[in-house]
């Protein structure tokens, strides 16, 4: 992993993206011992509206805490897929929730129906974010699955541990199926082209 790795988890308010960001940051920062900064942006609404959480993971101290050029983008709805895709590095990875994202900006996007999986397999749409985390980490190995599981279990409400563990496994399973179809190398390089800047 390069010294600065930037992740954006985006969608609409209520999909649990900020919680997912916190969990990912905790897995990397507290369990894996990396430097992390997790920031967020959301509207004044309680539900709905655009919502995103950013996680910057680095081997060095982080000065600017927000993402500038994304290595990994998760889009949980069409709007965020359309608008944040252009922040992705050319070699970055785009993962979309194909339940809501019907038109991907690139043919190389990784499409997994997180919400549909949550609804069908677990009967609870709210764990779509945890399924997505399981898939993201399996795809990119940005943190270890063990750290992720520990971070998830530390943050979720008591009594939902089993549900969340299952959600992680489902996400991981979906990602492995994708990896089987196309090796990791083939999935890289589908971000838009950028002019060179010092912010690689």
């Amino acid at each position: 992993m390069s010294k600065r790795y930037e992740i954006c988890l985006s969608g609409s308010g209520g999909q649990g993206l900020i919680l997912a960001g916190i969990i990912l940051a905790e897995a990397a920062g507290v369990h894996d011992g990396k430097h992390v900064a997790q920031s967020q942006s959301y509207g004044p609404e309680a539900r709905g509206g655009a919502s995103k959480a950013e996680v910057v993971i680095s081997d060095e101290e982080i000065d600017y805490p927000m993402a500038t050029r994304l290595d990994l983008l998760l889009a949980m709805n069409q709007k965020s897929s359309d608008s944040f895709y252009f922040d992705l590095k050319p070699e970055g990875t785009l993962v979309v929730d194909s339940t809501f994202v019907t038109q991907t900006p690139t043919t190389k996007a990784i499409c997994i129906p997180f919400t549909e999986i949550a609804r069908k397999e677990l009967g609870r749409e709210m764990v779509a974010n945890i399924i997505a985390l399981g898939a993201l980490v399996t795809l990119t190995k940005v943190v270890s699955l063990k750290s992720l599981e520990a971070a998830v279990l530390a943050r979720v409400p008591k009594g939902t541990e089993e549900l969340n563990r299952k959600a992680l496994q489902l996400g991981s399973k979906a990602a492995k199926a994708i990896l089987k179809k196309s090796p990791p190398g083939a999935m890289r390089g589908h971000g838009p082209n950028h002019e060179d800047t010092p912010y690689e």
Binding site: I22, A25, E26, G29, V30, G33, H35, V36, A37, Q38, S39, Q40, S41, Y42, G43, P44, E61, I62, D63, Y64, P65, M66, T68, T197, P198, Y199
Partner: protein, 380 residues
């Protein structure tokens, strides 16, 4: 940001770090009214304070919040409130009272976009002048600005220390980015933290003159209920605390409340230097923008450009000496801010034609990025 100590690092938000800092400094009273992006401070203190024997009150509004904080402080508790722009405006009247009655207290203002309800969830630095001059009358004030989660902890402790040491309200001017960004931090052990308490009177109660001048300009503070009875008023008062209209009492009082801050500038004015020694281009920044500026300065240095950053932690009293010393030999000074130029006015004021002062302002609710500052430096 800094990872040290033997304790396990924790993932904390700026607001959570403010709470930890307040508790480490001995805060035992909080009264406030929730407002984005400062609500987490109230929320967490609501369950943390009772655990340490402290008191949390959610008040009916911000006016009453600062009133309660002042009362609690007079009764001996280290007290705090937290709010954002609109709520901070409501506190201004009582803030003046705390200045004149010399009541130690800490007011956290997590800046969001304004004016008015403005942009509740977006960052801004629009309240700098409100923090300095929001309350009425000629008054000194201390304003501190953290830029990271670790800062939020340290500077909150510092804010309490200053308020206790100088018997003055201290404003902790955070912003939405600092408040909501989560970072891993390892908080220091309680024995690693320097905590100051207000100086209490040691003479017999009948000898106590509550507003008597001292060499430090800060009179010892009796607390309600410990036998040192005195009168507290918002009116300009004599050394015994009673209202006065005598010019020979008003003048020394006003001089003293200013002097107690001005003769301790060396202690109060905190700045951080990053590569300013030989800098031709000096960036002066504070709060979350200082972090963008630091990245931009480092990138410019990689390109061989002699850039440096002066980060202001103390905004007021404005660290004139440090600023002048740093910009004196520079070619140009840039002041990036998430407002139309509030600290840049101060920089221009102390500059007195020594160098060129440029501004970089962003007021669209977004954060100033390292690119914006870097591109400006490159063009220079």
């Amino acid at each position: 940001m800094t990872i040290k100590g033997k304790k396990k690092p924790r993932l904390l938000q700026g607001n959570e770090a403010v709470v930890e800092g307040a508790l480490a400094a001995g805060c035992s009273f909080f009264a406030g009214y929730p407002i984005t992006p400062a609500s987490e401070i109230s929320e967490i203190l609501a369950y943390r304070l009772p655990q340490v024997g402290g008191t949390f009150i959610q008040m009916e509004d911000e006016i009453a919040s600062l009133g309660a904080v002042i009362g609690a402080s007079l009764a001996g508790a280290k007290s705090m409130t937290a709010t954002s722009g609109p709520g901070f405006s409501l506190m201004q009247e009582n803030l003046g009272f705390a200045c004149v009655a010399e009541v130690p207290c800490v007011i956290v203002n997590v800046m969001r976009g304004g004016p008015s309800t403005g942009l509740p969830t977006n960052p801004s630095q629009g309240d700098v002048m409100q923090a300095r001059w929001g309350t009425h009358g000629d008054h000194p004030i201390i304003v501190l600005a953290p830029s990271s989660v670790h800062d939020s902890f340290e500077i909150t402790v510092q804010a309490f220390n200053f308020s206790e040491r100088y018997r003055t309200p201290v404003i902790l001017l955070s912003d939405e980015v600092v408040a909501h960004t989560r970072e891993t931090v390892t908080l220091p052990e309680p024995d690693e933290i320097e905590v100051w308490d207000r100086i209490r009177p040691s003479m017999p109660p009948e000898w106590y003159i509550p507003y008597e001048d001292t060499s430090r300009g800060v009179p010892p503070m009796g607390i309600f209920g410990d036998g040192y009875r005195y009168h507290v008023t918002g009116l300009i008062h004599d050394v015994r605390g009673f209202p006065t209209a005598r010019a020979d009492e008003i003048e020394p009082f006003m001089q003293r409340i200013h002097r107690k801050i001005s003769q301790h500038f060396h202690d109060i004015q905190i700045v951080k230097h990053y590569m300013t020694n030989d800098a031709e281009i000096v960036v002066i920044a504070y709060g979350s923008v200082a972090r963008s500026a630091r990245r931009a300065v480092l990138d410019a240095r990689e390109k061989g450009i002699k850039a440096g950053l002066l980060q202001l932690v103390t905004l007021y009293p404005f660290p004139r000496r440090e600023v002048v010393g740093t910009i004196r030999n520079s070619r140009v000074v840039l002041v990036p801010e998430m407002n139309m130029g509030q600290i840049s006015r101060e920089v221009k004021r102390v500059n007195e034609g020594m160098t060129r002062v440029a501004t970089l302002n962003r007021i669209d609710g977004g954060m100033i990025t390292p690119q914006q500052i870097y591109e400006w430096i490159i063009k220079e």
